[in-house]
């Protein structure tokens, strides 16, 4: 089985879906001949033409707005927002239009739309190329929020997202685009359902809950902690909304300790919701406080490299938190 990168999984997913269904098209800044700023759409323009791989103006509101209109018209658009940092002009379209359409029309209309956006820091991107935006959107019923952590899920979740009848925000951990590699079968269809989380490492002493790049680091940290005799169970949430409560509660019911890891600012970050869920529903299973390890509450990921390192949660910091919680 060949090993591919996370971004290659994304590219293959779009390639296969474009070939499978002629209603599928890609729209975004520089997605055409250039193949996307990260090369996620490399070769697709040549293969499917300018009518299905469309360069858009530099206006995220219109990229998503066009996508919603096309989706209502029966198309299956994949909108690329070049950096999640720039998704905010489209917030109104996503939250007020795409997410509410089905509810508002009593199910008569749905918006089968995928919005792809690279997110996250640690790449020297500074204030406007490092943000984590999932918490804003995982608050919105009517919108599914998905974040893959490996090439297999990246491919399988994106293909499922394209086939989903509702709007899906698909956030891509861009630091892991080429850093994270994994085996993905090339001779069979890879589909990963939206919804279920995955226990990516079994353990008995505590549960680490993470997604995206932080899940990658959490696995590394758990392996390192095993050398000290600490067996951490790691859960890759994969779908943030709607979240897989039963997998989370079953794991914490077993280990009785939970560490929630997220890269975003600590206050009001997505992991806060997981912590609240555990406090609410796993209280009598808990043997320690639910811990959060997250980015500091400062306005942005700093550009300066030493400060960026200070901001970012990494495998070392997660390892320390695992040891502290195991010792509690």
């Amino acid at each position: 089985m060949p090993e591919i990168t996370l971004i290659e999984g994304i590219r293959q997913a779009m390639d296969e879906e474009l070939a499978r269904d002629e209603r599928v098209f890609v729209v975004g800044e520089d997605v055409g001949p250039r193949g996307g700023v990260f090369r996620a759409t490399l070769g697709l323009f040549d293969k499917y033409g300018a009518g299905r791989v469309i360069d858009s103006p530099l206006a995220e509101l219109s990229i998503v707005g066009v996508g919603i209109g096309a989706a209502l018209y029966g198309m299956r658009p994949i909108c690329e927002v070049q950096f999640a940092d720039f998704i905010h002009p489209a917030f109104n379209q996503i939250v007020n239009e795409a997410a509410k359409m089905c509810y508002r029309s009593k199910g008569d209309w749905t918006v089968p739309l995928v919005i792809r956006a690279p997110y996250g820091g640690g790449i020297g991107g500074g204030l406007y190329h490092s943000q984590s935006v999932e918490a804003f959107f995982a608050h919105v019923p009517g919108l599914k929020v998905v974040i893959p952590s490996n090439p297999y899920d990246a491919k399988g979740l994106l293909k499922s997202a394209v086939r989903d009848p509702g709007p899906v925000l698909y956030l891509e951990p861009k630091k892991g685009y080429r850093l994270i590699k994994g085996e993905v079968p090339q001779d069979e269809e890879v589909l990963v359902p939206i919804g279920p989380a995955r226990v990516s490492r079994a353990g008995r002493d505590l549960t680490v809950l993470a997604y995206g790049m932080m899940h990658h680091y959490a696995l590394q940290a758990a392996e390192a902690a095993a050398a000290d005799g600490i067996e951490a169970e790691v859960i890759d949430l994969r779908t943030l909304y709607p979240v897989d409560r039963s997998t989370i509660l079953a794991s914490v019911g077993k280990t009785s300790k939970a560490l929630v890891v997220y890269e975003d600012n600590r206050t009001g970050g997505y992991g806060a919701e997981i912590a609240a869920l555990l406090a609410d529903e796993a209280f009598t299973d808990l043997d320690a406080p639910v811990r959060r390890l997250a980015g500091p509450d400062i306005p942005a990921v700093p550009f300066s490299h030493p400060l960026q390192d200070w901001f970012m949660v990494d495998a070392h910091k997660i390892g320390q938190a695992i040891r502290d919680l195991a010792a509690y």
């Binding site: 009785s256 209280f283 009598t284 299973d285 808990l286 043997d287 320690a288 010792a327 509690y328």
Partner: protein
């Protein structure tokens, strides 16, 4: 986690139910919300759905047995879960099973134990473990989950009962006492001299009605006020519309007119659509009108027309038909006999001119409708013959005073007389 299935409270004054049929056997798998058991009470027959999915671990009540609402009927869980022999409170069961320690050692005071986490507290309670005898290995000597589990493993205790999940939410699954609070018993005057005669045993409907009537009379200071209404327009309207309604399969009786008039007055006098509480008078947002239906010797039942203020005369008529028919066939669903905010009783059916009905607690008032009779009335100093009805309103004098109650009743009369 095992889940308890509890005998639901099927109706406001029904305190017990009979298991007529188990739809699943012990050991059979069941999905959440799948029908589990058929319950019969004197007011309704219904199926109780499973509050959780899993396997039916144990049935505690046999078919044909009658038990009080709130009694545990069954346990649903995973195949290997332990269940208690007797339906009882798990905490009490654990206590009773606590082994007497061979060494007489006073249990440590809670403050000596350091921090006890929720899971440690839970395991200790389930296994009746004395935490004072466990050496903690956690931070600052805290007793960890592993410590207490190790202690449980070494203690000669019986198999632990499965941890209890909260029963599913919803009125249907809540124990009666939680819903209504413990109610006081009615005072009974035992006859001092046994007169010659025979004793008629009480069935549960008779007892439930008796309890509710005594409770109501003891709770609210009842006052009844009576007015009469000229039903000329109602009679004419009914005559004109009857066949049109009939074509739609609706039997147009007088009851929907009284419901409609009461609704109009309730909207104008929200204090009547209310309940007394010690914190204040609770004004109900919805207008849900109960209509008493006689079941002959089997007592009576009060199905409720929900959101009666949102419904047309035609809709009220068809719901009155439907609820009355199903009440007599004892096919009402539990939520169709609950949640009323006002009640109408049509005692005129049996010839009564006016009556002093008893308030259906915890409502504020009840409207009695007497027999409709043609009577001689004086209108503009002329003698006329009109279809007349006496309307009796019994109200809770804690909430309403005479003037406002009369204002309400006058509004009912006005609505009936000015029907367009």
């Amino acid at each position: 986690m095992a889940t308890r299935v509890i005998m639901p409270q099927l109706g406001e004054s029904v305190v017990e139910g009979t298991v007529t049929k188990w739809l699943k056997k012990q050991g059979e798998p069941i999905a959440e919300f799948e029908p589990l058991v058929e319950i019969n009470t004197d007011k309704v027959d219904t199926e109780v759905p499973a509050p959780a999915g899993g396997v039916v671990l144990r049935l505690y009540v046999g078919e044909g047995e009658t038990v009080r609402a709130g009694t545990m009927l069954a346990v649903i869980g995973q195949p290997d879960e332990a269940v208690p022999e007797q339906p009882g409170q798990p905490a009490a069961a654990a206590e009773a099973r606590a082994p007497s320690p061979s060494e007489p050692r006073p249990p440590a005071a809670p403050s000596d134990l350091g921090f006890i986490s929720p899971v440690v507290a839970r395991i200790a309670a389930e296994h009746a473990v004395d935490l004072g005898r466990i050496r903690g290995t956690g931070q600052g000597g805290r007793i960890t989950k592993k410590d207490v589990l190790a202690a449980v493993g070494s203690e000669p205790t019986l198999a632990a009962p499965a941890p209890w999940e909260q029963p599913a939410l919803g009125e249907l699954f809540r124990p009666t006492e939680e819903v209504f609070g413990a109610s006081g018993e009615a005072q009974t005057m035992e006859p001092t001299m046994a007169p010659p005669g025979s004793l008629l045993p009480l069935d549960s409907v008779r007892r439930a009605i008796a309890d509710h009537m005594v409770l109501s009379k003891r709770t609210s200071p009842h006052v009844t006020t009576v007015m009469e209404a000229d039903l000329s327009r109602v009679v004419a309207h009914r005559q004109a519309q009857r066949s049109a309604f009939q074509r739609d399969g609706v039997n147009l009786t007088f009851t929907p007119y009284f419901v409609s008039a009461a609704v109009e007055a309730l909207k104008a006098f929200p204090l009547v659509n209310a309940s007394w509480s010690d914190r204040g008078i609770v004004l109900h947002r919805g207008v849900h009108v109960g209509v008493a239906v006689s079941l002959g010797e089997k007592g009576l039942i009060v199905p409720v027309i929900k959101d009666a203020d949102q419904k047309s005369l035609r809709r009220l008529a068809s719901e009155v038909n439907d609820l009355a028919a199903r009440a007599r066939a004892r096919q009402l669903k539990p939520d169709e006999v609950q949640g009323g905010t006002f009640t109408i009783t049509n005692h005129g059916i049996s010839g009564s001119l006016f009556a002093t009905p008893i308030i259906n607690q915890p409502q504020c008032a009840i409207l009695g409708v007497g027999a409709i009779q043609k009577r001689v009335v004086v209108i503009d100093d002329a003698i006329a013959i009109r279809p007349m009805v006496y309307l009796s309103l019994t109200f809770d004098h804690r909430i309403l005073d005479g003037a406002s109650a009369d204002g309400f009743l006058a509004r009912v009369v006005q609505a009936l007389q000015n029907l367009t």
